[in-house]
Amino acid sequence: MATRYFILGNGGAALHGIRALRIAGFTGEVHQISDDRGPAFNPMVAPYFLSGKVGWETCFPFGEAFYQTYQIERHEAETVVSLDARSRQITTSIGGTFDYDKCLIATGARPVMPPVPGLQDSRFALSLREPETALNMVTPLQNAEKVLILGASFVGIKLAEVFLKKGIKVVLVDIAPQIMPQGALPEAAKHVETLLRQKGIDVRLGVAMKKVEDTADGAICHFPDGSIETVDCIAVSAGIKPNLDFLDPEQVRINRAICTNDRMQTSDNSIYAAGDVCEALNRLTNSQQWMGTWGNACYQGRVAGQNMAGQYAEYTGAIPQHVSPIFNWTYMQIGDALRQGPGVQQEFKGDPFTGDNSFTIRVFENDVLVGANLINAATELAGIKMEIISGIEAARHTTSEESYQRGA
């Protein structure tokens, strides 16, 4: 019987895995199971579609032809409900059972719905993660007077910009005391918050919604202080969580996401994982971390595919980094800017509201650069990145040297 490989998911990691598999010469059966239909959707592009910058088809970077080109047998609109690693069998929501020789789990992540009473069931709560929900935002964009964005994440801020530019009032709410709580230092976050307020966005931080009530044509959002906001739409951007409910943690090791080695294998040799569903090497801390970005997912998928095909490929890891154009600013964060401890120092330069409008915070630990936040300072990025990497290499060399001296 022909070798059967199964790819679970239909995103960047899955498709790069498939492509790598075929380019590496794998000629067996490649089956793909995904809960969607049609070509792979990149949710990163959705805000730019909603702003009118690109067409809807640009949200599908691989196109329809990909699946025929790489001879994939698709099982669309099927959700994996269980994966038995011992018997190497997958069961789906419509009762399908499939035996596999090797499997790549690239099921991505889904939006987190904060536990606000009424939010989950609200007809007006939308997210950007799937094509259908992204398209559902088109109507509010045309007709809304006011929207509430739940979650001052990078996606939330981007959505705030999209809605504001259409002349819609925006309320941006987050339970955290600052915007961009993942990776932005308070000083950098404050500058961006000031920009958003200057643009007219109503930013409310350190606030949790009490409940949501649907009306005929909108939602009423209740706050603990007794105030309410009546909005046409609630855009939820409160983070994501990996899609791995179908896995038995007794069979496949799971931490915050699926654990992998440098070949993107899980604790079961026949199962690989890549993308937003797995943890992989953080080069800065030399530990496994969940770092979900499109670029990481693509590289991980490729490595997984190459290894599944019998080649030897290593995923050399990544440094946490993020970039976000915010109105006419560009915000970047790289490395571990939030590091704290006795040897940590921060170095500030510039002001995004004066002079050349650039602002940087460099974070050092024992005089070694470990992270940075940059606003309109892209010209400094390459040097900062090189310096962080040099620090990693020097630390590795020092560790090796110390080991050598100790006779280890």
Binding site: T58, V323, T330
Partner: protein, 174 residues
């Protein structure tokens, strides 16, 4: 697929910046601060001796280009000559390529979309040299298919090694 590449001889570069001016002229840049090529200097000093070297760097059109991999729309791609090229219609201006590139190659235009060195495609297509290569007064900059450049460099290096091995002083001859 042919892989075109730039070559650069650090021993020849005088840091005149003509390559930057040529790039700005070729691409009709009006701002003095924008070009696809950058020249940096490096000074070495030891006691009374010093030396300044220059490096002229543009997009390296990497073989396995990270910007191609991370671009969320596929706007960045490798063309048939190995040049890292760009379809601006697909660019969303997310700056992910800028974050990923270790060489500062991606720049951004007024419309928010990326622009970059395209190896002077309009010139190379007609058998001309890229503007920066053509203008270089010391021939520090070169270009061509990677295989040919590699062969040339290997030949130069081998010649140097052979010369150093064969050179002997008269007093040391048997």
């Amino acid at each position: 697929m042919t892989q075109l590449t730039f070559s650069f001889d650090v021993n020849r570069c005088s840091g005149c910046l003509a390559c930057i001016v040529a790039c700005q002229d070729q691409n009709d840049f009006v701002s003095e601060t924008v070009a696809f090529r950058q020249v940096t200097s490096y000074e070495e000093r030891f006691l009374t001796k010093s030396r300044i070297s220059f490096l002229s760097l543009s997009c390296l059109h990497c073989g396995d280009a990270p910007c191609v991999m991370v671009c969320p729309t596929g706007a960045i791609f490798k063309n048939s000559e190995g040049v890292v090229d760009l379809n601006r219609e697909l660019c969303i201006g997310c700056h992910t390529c800028e974050l990923t590139c270790s060489f500062g190659a991606p720049k951004f235009a007024e419309d928010g979309r990326m622009i970059k060195c395209d190896f002077c495609h309009d010139r190379v297509e007609y058998g001309l040299k890229p503007a920066c290569v053509r203008v270089c007064p010391t021939k520090a900059l070169g270009f061509g298919p990677l295989k040919d450049i590699s062969k040339e460099k290997t030949k130069e290096a081998s010649t140097k090694i052979l010369k150093s091995l064969l050179a002997t002083e008269p007093s040391k001859q048997p």
